[in-house]
Assembly symmetry: C2
Homo-oligomer: 474 residues x 2
Amino acid sequence: MSALLERIAAVVGPHGLITDEATLEPFLIDWRKRYIGRALAMVKPASTNEVAEVVRLCAAERTAMVPQGGNTGLAGGATPDASGTQIILSLSRMNRVRGIDPLNNTLTVEAGCTLVAVQEAARTADRLFPLSLAAEGSCEIGGNLSTNAGGTAVLRYGTARELTLGLEVVLASGEVWNGLRGLRKDNTGYDLKHLFIGAEGTLGIITAAVLKLFPLPRGWATGIVGLDSPESALALLSHARERFGERLTSVELFSDFCLDLVLRHFAESRAPLRARHPFYVLIELADSHPSEHVRQQLEDGLAAALEASLVRDAVIATSEAQTRAVWALRESISDAQAREGKNIKHDVSLPASALAEFIAVTGTALERAYPGVRVVCFGHLGDGNLHYNISSPVGVDADAFLANQETINRIVHDRVVHFHGSISAEHGVGQLRRDEILRYKPPIEMELMRKVKAALDPLGIMNPGKLIARMNQL
Amino acid sequence: MSALLERIAAVVGPHGLITDEATLEPFLIDWRKRYIGRALAMVKPASTNEVAEVVRLCAAERTAMVPQGGNTGLAGGATPDASGTQIILSLSRMNRVRGIDPLNNTLTVEAGCTLVAVQEAARTADRLFPLSLAAEGSCEIGGNLSTNAGGTAVLRYGTARELTLGLEVVLASGEVWNGLRGLRKDNTGYDLKHLFIGAEGTLGIITAAVLKLFPLPRGWATGIVGLDSPESALALLSHARERFGERLTSVELFSDFCLDLVLRHFAESRAPLRARHPFYVLIELADSHPSEHVRQQLEDGLAAALEASLVRDAVIATSEAQTRAVWALRESISDAQAREGKNIKHDVSLPASALAEFIAVTGTALERAYPGVRVVCFGHLGDGNLHYNISSPVGVDADAFLANQETINRIVHDRVVHFHGSISAEHGVGQLRRDEILRYKPPIEMELMRKVKAALDPLGIMNPGKLIARMNQL
């Protein structure tokens, strides 16, 4: 063992240092299995002080660190590079709930708490922590914050960034910044937490956070509607915002081809409406009133939408089982398309006013370039966020079709940027989009990012090669 | 005229350069008349390009710039220093609404738009821009963003920071960063807008912004309750959040002494309830439903609070005139205390769970140090934000009492920090709290702030001496 690892072992103890190859293996590869790296070791500190001590030891040797939470990221942000010289810094042992303050509606947790554990801690105090996403059982809150995670309740409650009041961060120097404030207002200087949220571990290591809590809703209503087009879906969104205000929690869009895939690959699934429609929107309300009341509101609102010909058909779930079935349709799309074969994924956002035209124009361009190509278009309509994935034409081998990834990314992302959108709405940059953002971001913005990176991590040891091109590549 | 001013005049034209002393005078003094400075000139660019050109010219000569909006700040952040070498950079001529996108719920405005003009632009598109504060007729949105303004609707809609999606900023180099995005989700790198929001012009000059809009509420209800204590007020806040969810727009607290001052100095004002109570809370709901409906909800909720003995008495405004009268009580407190004589002001925030104890402990400490001292305690309870101002004991000259400011600040702010609060909740740092934050912020946090400052404004020409101690003073 190297002298560095010996010194680290003395800090983190026998449970805190993993060098055994077999044990390391799952942590060297990302969730989608697109990136495989090597590592000197995985270090698992059990406290903020241990993290700080490890960072100081690594900084002294110029050894790079790759922070890792639940390792569920979709952009390769937590996978070490191939050099074998980096250390994976796992926060998983730091999984305590440090405190809950129901009167202040705040929860203080360590980075290694799973998202589900955070949600549950809130619920035990009769409060809601609204961040929710598919990986919630295994992703960790430190990763959620470092990637500014989104999910299905952003429309109402915001992204991980907006749910954070304070942070504790181990800086690149090994110093600890205790910014664990539980305040709604604090104008005593630069709001430094925003530097670390969404920075993917490139500026420091988030070790704990103060999160916002909300009253637990008492009633819910979930419906699904069939529509003509994305234009209609956007008109419905406007109608729903106007009518339901902040009761509106989720507005999720998917195309008929998405439904097709789900019905084909999940035998237990059923089409939600009598007829088929080009697009569907799942709409959910939650309120401090009982469910009967909320359902009545949704019913009245959708009746008005039907009358105004915004939607072609609508149904409201009247039982827990029906609600689950409706959500299962939406949540099975990712798995269904995976069962259909590999595809080329995009996670984009657009101004709502450009969304319909983007879908039309991009679909046309893809069809012209690849006749028969199948677009898996779904996402968080309320946030302008589409998961716009491309499957091969019927009869074309899915694996072979992946060779067109570069060209297809260009077709999709050029149009996203033309319409003033983002090429990574919620998944982040990591390794996946690191070089691509150089193409699309204004150079002055990259320069600002580099200045911030150089100021906070002058040695370039915090997750190098992620999000921002390595300093020595500039 | 100096060569620099001649070059600037060539950029901004005859309307854009003011050197005449009489015309300059009102811009050399802050709103509260605590800070008086001098200036080389006031420059009023009419476009982003003109701002950029002016910054480049100033940077070349190392001439410092003090950005100024409506000059309504309460911390001296927009007042030049006494050297007479600084330039006031007024954004007031940049007052165009660049665009409104109702479907995307965004509004793009230039920094010099007054807050009222922004609110009105939103309303013409049947939308709400919820930021609202006393100075809204004259403050400008660029200043609101640079100071992360708060106000009366933060509980529901957040501060200026949370209402901003994108920025256009002229950097210290004179380069323009166009970050005018209207996206709810964008994870393509560091979220740089948060560096400039609340930075009081020390990192760059905000020239335009994309702001979030909301549906216009259709119904309102306003009530006022009398309570025993801050503890009861906090219990009511919990009850109201639980019961009303996001309909809850404002929860404002004031003590009986505040009411006393208003009744004494405003002949037309009336006590809102039959009896007097130690504390009052103004509570306002807004919803997409008609006012009758919202009032019924408020009535039911306050009836339950009465039954649970959370409140001693309650009344709901049943007309527009009554609503205005209730708000007038709350909004007259600042003027009433000014008419009573000068006082020592604090703008603090605390975790809700510490607020009642803070009020008790601090009141006792002040009374012990200055028997008979009168505390003007009011504020945005829903945000944990108190304007905790100190008037002289009856019979003690108010001006003379101001000599105790330093000691009284210490008594109040030491306790704020003891309870993990902030010594500047919404007013900012400016000159007023610049040295005081050095006492209370962790040194590592000041160091991070200085690193950011040095990275973005290496010449130290952006509003030097505000928010962060001058680089050469370090």
